[in-house]
Symmetry: C2
Subunit: 443 residues, 2 copies
């Protein structure tokens, strides 16, 4: 169903038909339609959905739309939705809605639940604790496969996953992991202790989400247990949340590499002032660093006054150097992020970038040499520009390859050595090289 | 176990101890150790592993190490490994190894297998066909849950996943999907046709991997069926491969945005000449575009000759404008990639960027106004620089926001409107604005 069709059906009040058509499509698609409608018709349509489906659709709505709905619906409706949500989705929801809605949610919870909610709200953002959910299947190791399958049948419906089950001791310590695949494929009389995997990976509530995403990627996991300081199992993280984490972390990398203070908020939802705030700091730092180019030029003013054309050529030289350096920096930063480049590869990177830089410089230099001879018919000027390009491109490639690795070694984020910073460094150096070669050849 | 410990154990030939220690760690960790060793000791250690584990470790080895091993091991060993591999991993492997190894692999396959391998090798790179595997569980709709569970028990061991099962007709048309969760939680007497999901998502063998990754993200899937032109089920794609796809696609985005012709190869594995080739095209295009700045400067040469200081200040102005534009472009390109920004948001983006640009420009302009008064004690020059920064920053933000959206509308990759291109456009415009304001105020 497309938005236009839905709007028409709403206008003509074909509610039964709307319901029938919505039941044919997937929850994320229904949520997308509801996000696009005005809030009142959206709520009208939302209320047509069967209870369980409504909760599933609710999870996929925009944060703003969730907040709007939650202030408009009755306490009973709100309680019904909350009841259907997985614990991690509920926590995400509570973090988004206005305080009065939070109050209405908490009124309907028991003391134990409220304690748990509070505990989860206190886990640091971006930590395992803030990603995990508590709806997992726990088993005992002294029980048979058949009895465990019965238990899964009994409690499985409301668990986020039943495909990995967790074997815990009486004190809730995590002792092993058993997949539903192994349970299904094993003889029903065997004990869990015989088939459970005891060499398993687990993470701690405070572990960072970027690290957790790496663990998922490395070991091809579908879910991962989270333990507390006493090694007690407190929750699990599932792969669907990790896909979101990878996306958020990548977005932050893009932002850092463009000299923006990173934010998880979507572009269209950030207000102008906040957006400017996230961009101004680095712009100021880079602007004042660029003053270096001013010093270089003023101290070589006699060259420019003799050969006015020099000042016309510098922007092209600086921009070509900057682009080359940015290419190298991007390749190396991404390699560091993915773990393909390590500190021990420093000299390999340096050697590779020097050779690539020279190769690029020679090609670009020759092209410009020819162009300048054609345009200005000045062999000496063409030589200066060609030589400068070779030197500046090589220097830029070297810096772009080197500085991110050094930054990482110094426990800084390599992303600060991306295009903006490299360009600023390369700009001043390009000018220095250019004026030096000019004074050698043209004077 | 760490590398140093392993090397020591190898030197002292403590083979039994090595084996025991390796059995305690995960396959990807064993593979990492084997990647780091020289090829001979690595093969020695690899041969200690039990057959099934060896195949699992083999999948996680570097492509180079896989190729080395495959030329050194016997036909029997090679056949054993191939036998344990899932079909998609085998195809990936065949694509990597030298031709003589491919020949040795194909000798041990039946005619039917060889036909299937050929078919898979022919799917375009980056298509659903090249990602899918054929080890899935197929069920019939007229069968009971109990009978289906028996079938899964019988055939499940060598399937890449048993958590989603596929219901197909006699002609292998895909009719429905049933999760193992539903099978486990349903009464054993029910028919598959009663519990299967008939509103399911599927993709076509030729669909692009970026689209497939989006489908996985949107619908939180663990696996996805792939059908051919006649809607027959030919394979499935699992989430673990999608995580890799997301990573590869992101890397390509980073490369495109840095004006590099994208490659899936790891940085350290690309040879110098190939790397230079992937970087030179855009560098040449951008270098010749930058010649525009040369025209702008030469046609305003009289201003520079009167006020030499102008040529010293221009790099800082251009770099600040470029940085601002690059920030906007990065935010908008990423928003377009994630689907948060659409063409209909064009005016929202323009309006936001204009306001942010003005705000940033005023702040940066005032800072520089003050700095120039302090440094040069020239109010009129300070005014020119301040005003230029306001105009150039606003223009840069606008272009950075606008051009990626326009590019996407024109079916171009928005990534070409990233930092390098925006910077080049902004450079020339900055000079134009600067010289224009200079001629208004200083003359």
């Amino acid at each position: 169903m497309i938005l236009k069709e839905l709007k028409n059906l709403i206008k003509n009040r074909h509610l039964a038909l709307i319901k029938a058509k919505l039941l044919e499509i997937q929850e994320p698609d229904i949520a997308e339609l509801l996000d696009e409608l005005d809030v009142k018709p959206a709520l009208l349509v939302f209320r047509l959905l069967p209870k369980e489906l409504a909760a599933d659709v609710f999870v996929h709505l925009d944060g703003d739309r969730q907040a709007e709905f939650s202030t408009l619906i009755s306490d009973t409706e709100l309680a019904e939705i909350i009841d259907e949500l997985y614990f991690d989705d509920m926590i995400d929801f509570i973090e988004e809605v206005p305080a009065n809605v939070v109050k209405r949610i908490l009124i309907n919870t028991t003391v134990t639940e409220r304690k748990l909610i509070n505990q989860f709200l206190n886990y640091p953002d971006d930590s395992a604790g803030s990603l995990m959910t508590i709806e997992f299947v726990d088993l005992k190791k002294e029980v048979t496969v058949a009895a465990s399958m019965k238990r899964i049948k009994r409690i499985g419906l409301n668990k986020e996953t039943i495909y990995t089950c967790y074997v815990i001791s009486k004190k809730r310590k995590l002792e092993g992991i058993v997949s539903l695949k192994d349970l299904v494929l094993s003889d029903s009389g065997r004990l869990i202790s015989d088939i459970m995997e005891t060499e398993f990976i687990s993470v701690h509530t405070n572990d960072d989400q970027e690290y957790i995403a790496d663990v998922f990627k490395k070991y091809d996991l579908l879910s991962l247990p989270v333990v507390d300081n006493e090694n007690r199992l407190v929750g699990i993280i599932t792969i669907d949340d990790i896909v979101d984490v990878i996306e958020v972390e990548t977005t932050e990398d893009f932002q850092r590499m463009a000299a923006i203070d990173p934010t998880e908020e979507e572009y269209l939802n950030i207000n102008t002032f906040n957006l400017a705030k996230r961009r101004i700091t680095w712009l100021i730092i880079l602007m004042f660093s660029a003053v270096l180019t001013e010093f270089v030029t003023t101290s070589n003013m006699h060259l420019i006054q003799t050969f006015g054309i020099l000042s016309a050529i510098t922007p092209m030289l600086m921009s070509t150097g900057g682009n080359t350096g940015a290419q190298s920096a991007t390749l190396v930063i991404r390699g560091l992020t993915l773990g393909n480049i390590k500190f021990k590869d420093l000299f390999k990177v340096i050697w590779k970038e020097i050779r690539v830089g020279v190769l690029l410089g020679v090609m670009l230099g020759m092209l410009n040499f020819t162009r300048i001879i054609i345009t200005y018919k000045e062999v000496r000027l063409a030589t200066v520009v060609g030589l400068t390009l070779i030197c500046t491109t090589t220097f830029a490639a070297l810096m772009g390859g080197l500085l991110p690795i050094i930054a990482k070694k110094l426990k800084l984020d390599p992303a600060i050595m991306a295009s903006p910073m490299i360009t600023t460094i390369v700009d001043a150096t390009t000018l220095l090289i250019f004026f030096y070669i000019t004074s050698l050849i043209l004077f």
